[in-house]
Amino acid sequence: MTVLPLRPPRRVRHETVTLAHGGGGSAMRDLVEDVFVSAFAVHEEGQPLEDQARLSLAELMARGDRLAFTTDSFVVDPLEFAGGDIGKLAVCGTVNDLAVGGAVPVALSCAVVIEEGMAVATLRRIAASIARTAREAGVRVVTGDTKVVARGACDKLFITTSGVGVIRTGLDLGIARARPGDVVLINGPLGDHGAAIMAARGELAVSAPVASDCAPLNGLIGALLDAAPGTRLIRDATRGGLAAVLNEMAEASNIGVRVAESAIPIRPEVRGFCDLLGLDPLYLGNEGVAVAVVPPEQADAALAALRAHPLGVLAAAIGTATAERPGRVVMDTPFGGTRIVDMLVGDPLPRIC
């Protein structure tokens, strides 16, 4: 009886993805192993893939006392844009949702839904971007999934990442923890991501010299927490923009929020973009903007820490929590007036994350 040779290393043999690549058979294994596993190095060399990744709890315990767990789906169109791509976004989004809870991100999962007809070359670029961003953020992609759907059943590629991280003992960040007198900080200018995506779609026939701010914020947030351990809460200002974060915080903490329009950093080109299209940068999505609320006595240290980080050079204190008008966000206009900043009323903006 002949001993058969084991399979050669798996390689995708087509230029585009077909439904066969999602069928659970050998074409799927080729795709998964060649494009994703090889890029992410999810498993030790020579070790087979299991249905689940395994992490030592003892090692996690050494870093803190709580596990943070989060998920986000990314459906951005276009897949690639100035400043990033869906892969970078998918890593940053989940890393940031861990980091804003005070967690050190440890491991990510990555589930992709691919529309048949997708170019394998594009998938490879995006997988490489995922791997690069994960390295930059210091996390590992440890498990994943691949589905292929018929043409028209999804828009090219959706990525869902989940993440686990460890929250340092003693930290307790929460959207309900803001107190009157606290200072509201942000690390950088608003709207870069939203404007970059809308411009990249081409439908508005507008060219804008704006790149997405998409970045992993865990390093920045770590520095902030070191400098201001009393930090009340941190949120990344993604969909719904700064306005959504401020309103959620006002409502959950039962405080008023008063911000100064003139203190909020916005790039001139983003402002021009918004002016031209009648948009408000407070509602544009961001992928590298963190909003932090710190007690007043730690505000200076916190701001200094943000500004000392490459992702926080334009950081600013933009307002304070107040006892007045709990649940409401009020903005002082440069002209001396005030306005209410409400939640976005679902304008059908292009998909940006």
Binding site: E203, L204, A205, V206, L277, G278, R325, R328, D332, T333, P334, F335, G336, G337, T338, R339, I340, D342, V345, G346, D347, P348
Partner: protein, 372 residues
């Protein structure tokens, strides 16, 4: 080009002067001078910059009917939904129009239900859609006052020049002056003067407003949209009132020529003709207040191509948009305000666009007057 008109110090001084004028006029919080901004752009600017809050006591802004999205009647939205639901059609529209409620549904809901509806920035982009989708009928939902009319007229002319057969315009353009007349004619009218629409005027010039001064003895100042523009216009109106005159003045000379824009007027005249009447939300039917596409361009007229019916649809129960539009009541005096009618679930059109008085109040001004 805009920053000097934002200068805070100049503004403070202007506000002081405005206060002096109001004082001189004997205006008080209970018996204020009432100035109506006709244009939704001004409504937006007033809330956006918090100008109402910085006004000295004795001055009250009335938010007029100048948001073309807000005054669109339900029947026209229903027509538009019907056109959009034709599987051959790609309906292109400005984003503002998407959430306006029709009697069955809004365009946003029609889109969710499967209609092919695209948001565009410009009618030119709708024409591009038509070029790129030769097998589809692209209908542009054209609406707006005279500011926007030239752009759709020029787009129709461009379509004709290029021989683009699958493009048409669902024309809902309206003219500004009949609106102002409707306000002036409404019982209990209490407007002391008008902040005139800056961008409409850059097209039509100042002449069309003369009847306001001559027949109704009210001043109008065509104003720009920056904070200082608005304050200066308020000052100019108070100055006229103090002097006991009613003139049509132009604060926005950097943009608005005395006679408007001749090329724009020519394009309008070439493509459009006045309708005998047009239905307005809250205001009913107003004679000669809308335009339609001339026979010459009938093939670009979606109204003819899709046999639109435009039934008159009554405004929903309890909706007081008409009274708000005419300055008769403040938004929060409508029983639906903030309850059944919110920006997420607008009952009336004034709750849709950020240029609508109710939406502006809800979004920028807080739920109740006292909070503004």
């Amino acid at each position: 080009m805009t920053t000097p008109f934002h200068d805070r110090d100049t503004g403070q001084r202007l506000l002081a002067r405005i206060g002096e004028k109001l004082h001189a006029l004997g205006a008080t919080e209970r018996a204020p001078i009432r100035l109506m901004e006709v244009c939704g752009g001004h409504t937006h600017a007033i809330f956006r910059h918090g100008l109402a809050g910085v006004m000295p006591p004795g001055m009250e802004f009335l938010h007029g009917p100048g948001c073309p999205v807000c005054v669109l009647p339900m029947g026209r939205i229903d027509d538009c939904v019907a056109i959009a639901e034709d599987p051959r059609v790609i309906l292109a529209t400005f984003g503002d129009a998407m959430r306006v409620p029709g009697s069955r549904k809004s365009l946003l809901q029609a889109k969710a239900d499967g209609a092919d509806i695209r948001m565009v920035y410009s009618p030119l982009d709708a024409l591009t859609l038509a070029r790129r989708n030769p097998d589809r009928e692209v209908v542009f939902f054209g609406l707006g006052f005279e500011t926007t009319m030239p752009s759709t007229a020029l787009t129709v002319l461009r379509a004709e020049r290029e021989g683009i057969a699958n493009f048409s315009l669902f024309c809902n353009h309206i003219t500004i002056t009949p609106t102002i007349k409707a306000v002036l004619d409404s019982p209990g009218m209490a407007v002391d003067g008008f902040i005139g629409p800056g961008h409409v005027s850059m097209v039509i010039g100042l002449r069309p407003y003369r009847f306001i001064a001559e027949r109704y003895d009210r001043p109008l100042v065509v104003a720009g949209f920056e904070p200082l523009d608005v304050l200066q216009s308020v000052w100019m109106l108070l100055d006229q009132i103090g002097r006991g005159v009613a003139l049509i003045e132009n604060q926005y000379g950097r943009i608005v020529p005395e006679d408007g824009n001749p090329q724009a007027q020519a394009a309008i005249a070439e493509v459009f003709e006045t309708r005998a009447f047009f239905e307005w939300r809250g205001l009913g039917s107003i004679d000669e207040s809308g335009v339609a596409i001339r026979d010459r361009y009938a093939r670009f007229d979606a109204e003819r191509r899709f046999a639109v019916r435009s039934p008159t649809v009554a405004d929903p129960d309890g909706c007081r948009c008409g009274d708000v539009l005419k300055g008769g009541i403040k938004p929060w005096q409508c029983g639906l305000f903030g309850g059944a009618c919110t920006p997420e679930t607008p009952v009336g059109a004034l709750m849709v666009s950020s240029e609508g008085a109710c939406a502006a109040h809800h979004q920028y001004g807080g739920l109740r007057k006292g909070a503004a």
